[in-house]
Symmetry: C2
Amino acid sequence: MSVHDLKIGHPNCGDCPIRHRAVCARCESDELAKLDSIKYYRSFQAGQTVIWSGDRMDFVASVVTGIATLTQTMEDGRRQMVGLLLPSDFVGRPGRSQAAYDVTATTDLVMCCFRKKPFEDLMGSTPHIAQRLLEMTLDELDAAREWMLLLGRKTAREKIASLLAIIARRTASLKTAGKTSDVKFDLPLTREEMADYLGLTLETVSRQMSALKRDGVIELEGKRQIIVQSLDRLLEETGDDSDGGFLV
Amino acid sequence: MSVHDLKIGHPNCGDCPIRHRAVCARCESDELAKLDSIKYYRSFQAGQTVIWSGDRMDFVASVVTGIATLTQTMEDGRRQMVGLLLPSDFVGRPGRSQAAYDVTATTDLVMCCFRKKPFEDLMGSTPHIAQRLLEMTLDELDAAREWMLLLGRKTAREKIASLLAIIARRTASLKTAGKTSDVKFDLPLTREEMADYLGLTLETVSRQMSALKRDGVIELEGKRQIIVQSLDRLLEETGDDSDGGFLV
DNA sequence: CGGATGCTTTGACGCAGATCAATCCGAAAG
DNA sequence: CTTTCGGATTGATCTGCGTCAAAGCATCCG
């Protein structure tokens, strides 16, 4: 594996794309300055491994741009993705020295890193960081539990539809906020990665994608570009409650 | 459902059985006093529902004694347990007004409750509470992710063995700390609850329990009492890494 | 004592999704 | 242009687990 792990410049935190959603979201300008002073960036190419499960991990980090995955592997090679890291998501656990999962860059990836020790110290003195981290961790726990329902009880078709709906919704919320017009987006995952996420084989993923296309739920443009005419129609296929019950 | 939700006395926090593991674990005596002043106990009988998903939830709580479950239900009735709450575990989410899951008492249950608003205020002024809550939430997230691997990739036999191993290990760690002698414990769950936890049907659970018994991995005394002669043998059946790799 | 009632076990059968294997397709390289 | 190579698709077949159904076995209650 060609390590391509270059240091890049230090943009100002003020115009960081994840400034208001990452672990630093709640920080005041003086707190931000402290974080700024210990941060450094790392880049990874698509496909590169950020860290292996069990390896010593002396930093924590936020995803700035790109997508990474958290996966667990069994001795015989069975794999299960346990998290999808999008921009602003946090990696690593204060108070733990070894990585618990493999972290892999799915697309080109930029991470904003903090050495663990200084970060932990800062957390002690800066309640806004710990507060925000708690909030984010609780959100992740909810997401993990939603995924448990998917893994344990949904059919292959429902699993695919759920994954597409999550990505479609996120895309839709960024652009045409609220509109139920058609959504078009890039799948950031290969069929195999989708399979690892959904607890399926890549063949089943492929077959169900074809089936959803045949049934007019989605359209494909190339292999990766997805068009969803009716988000409602897609949501019906997920098996979830129709009223996307908001729990704030 | 006969509601039997009695208030009981206020034992002193000092000799609370979960004092050193619950959300209050890190508190100094003055902090504890504040918590003490806003706490109240609630008891539930085995089988009672503590709260329904979507209901207004104006408190958070710690399990003091007994076991409760967190489950999600789909419209058509498919159910998935997403958490098992043991003594010292925390229920509820600061900053959220509605319950996200059904909470059910599996055994008789006593919870130490705090009204949400005062608790949130206290969290702001008492960093030790927020710290401990973050730590506990991170542990729960790890547990949820381990469960995702189980749900997505393990066979029925491995699922059963994993569940038994978790309970056996917890029991063993309490008693014969370290010894690999035989462990004997009560299953706190019905076959159906096991099925809901493992993403199986109750018939499959029953069959695999019989198979593990037939193969000499476990012994049954009645329906609920389990005897594990060799914990190592049981662990082999879980599909996990043989060296229970410690991640501290 | 007998018959509910709730939980568990066991059997017969079917099917969703895994497995094995053959193409297919598009992009990059020669 | 052809070759190669990393996905993706599609087909044929197998199997683990779900489904449906019938007992079995305690505990409780009249």
